[in-house]
Subunit: 252 residues, 2 copies
């Protein structure tokens, strides 16, 4: 029987680190999504197999929390597994660690499966006779000591930037790439922020698709000195995604 | 004795392809630069070793010409070798191919080595007693059937866009990342261009560094229906880089 947890080796490339020498959170997010894709594919639940029956995975939430961001030239590992399946959603967790097992951080993600024709979510438990339940890990193996996805409440968010979207922003489906939102959101912060603090946690909730040519408007709502909520709206009305960015003081 | 040509396997990841399903030219460029870095490092000429003696490589020119751009999930190979060393510059070539040897394209690059204290170029032939010459390939192995880097003449270029630069644009040196220029340049073209045509060739000449917070202005000068020259200036005066983008009609 196939193991329920996969481990993927990752090398931190030189152009994938920021000016402080640490991996970009967007690049790390990309590695997590690749690990998720590969883990699913090895179990017959990959995009390729699903597309044949007109289904596809849609990322709904992603929360990453790091005690330490790896540096240029480091070799790290990403472990991933399915935590649970709750009818219309499945929760997948990740551990990011050094090859010797030292934890660097963890991540949580929530996915829906949609029917590509109707764009409606599917009951994961009834698909393929509940096959997905075979891949849910035992509770003892679900080691992911970070908070779950939080809720967002935007009351007095201030519009701080609007940008156009171009060729490099879109993925193979013509949608603005999930990772590009993370880049654009982190681009709202000035250089000094990254000089004085490290990224500790990023949460993002994907609400609707945007397309090449859409204008994205960014609304900021400070929560505390170290925490900022951000809402992204397309063409200044529909909410596309919501994010929370938490910084911490540098530790030596 | 060490082989003079290295071969690096590359996997085309799902988030690394454009909306047509083909690898982004910027991502391909990143793979080329990684291959160059690894090839140098294996021979004692990597950034790490050089930094210890206050030297570093600076990319001056990059020209990539593809007959076919690989697609999502494809496995490809990048071969790289040193073509020549001419005192202040070295030329490094690349072949991009399928694992069965089918060529997809080629690339040429030109590099200078600078002294990090004086920022002046060094005589590559006198460094380490001309050690670098040991890695220049025999003429028969230098198979790179694409044109060399061309010259740029901007006479009536029109300013088409200006953008600010942010956190995601800069590399570990605090410079705007060489690859990000490629992304911003390709973002000048509308969706229809990529729907109707494929990228055939990209040439870029790096002239000066720009930094986070600089404004980049893009000037376009059409050469023919399929060819566009682009100059990037920082803060609307100093030339940062110049590029030529060549498209071709789709072939089935």
């Amino acid at each position: 029987m196939m193991e329920k947890v996969d481990t993927y080796p990752i090398y931190v490339e030189p152009f994938h680190v920021d000016f402080t020498g640490h991996i970009f959170m967007g690049v790390l997010g990309n590695h997590l999504l690749n690990a998720a894709g590969n883990h699913s594919q090895r179990r017959g639940w990959g995009i390729g197999a699903l597309n044949e029956s007109s289904h596809t995975w849609v990322l709904s939430r992603l929360s990453i929390e790091m005690t330490e961001l790896p540096c240029q030239y480091e070799h790290i590992e990403i472990k991933t597994w399915v935590e649970s399946v709750i009818k219309l959603f499945t929760n997948r967790n990740f551990a990011i660690q050094r090859p010797d097992g030292t934890p660097l951080g963890y991540a949580r993600s929530t996915w829906a499966m949609i029917d590509m024709t109707t764009r409606k979510p599917c009951d994961l438990l009834s698909l393929y006779d509940g096959d997905i339940l075979r891949y849910v890990v035992d509770e003892a193996d679900n080691v992911c000591p970070i908070a779950g996805h939080g809720r967002f409440r935007f009351r007095n968010a201030e519009k701080v930037r609007s940008i156009h979207t171009y060729y490099s922003d879109v993925d193979i489906n013509g949608h603005i790439n999930s990772i590009k939102y993370i880049e654009h959101i982190l681009d709202l912060f000035p250089r000094e922020r990254f000089e004085q603090q490290s990224l500790r946690r990023l949460e993002i909730a994907y609400k609707a698709e945007a397309y090449m040519g859409d204008t994205l408007c960014f609304y900021q709502q400070p929560v505390s000195e170290d925490e900022m909520d951000i809402e992204v709206r397309k063409n200044d009305n529909e909410t596309v995604c919501q994010a929370k960015i938490c910084f911490k003081k540098h530790t030596l």
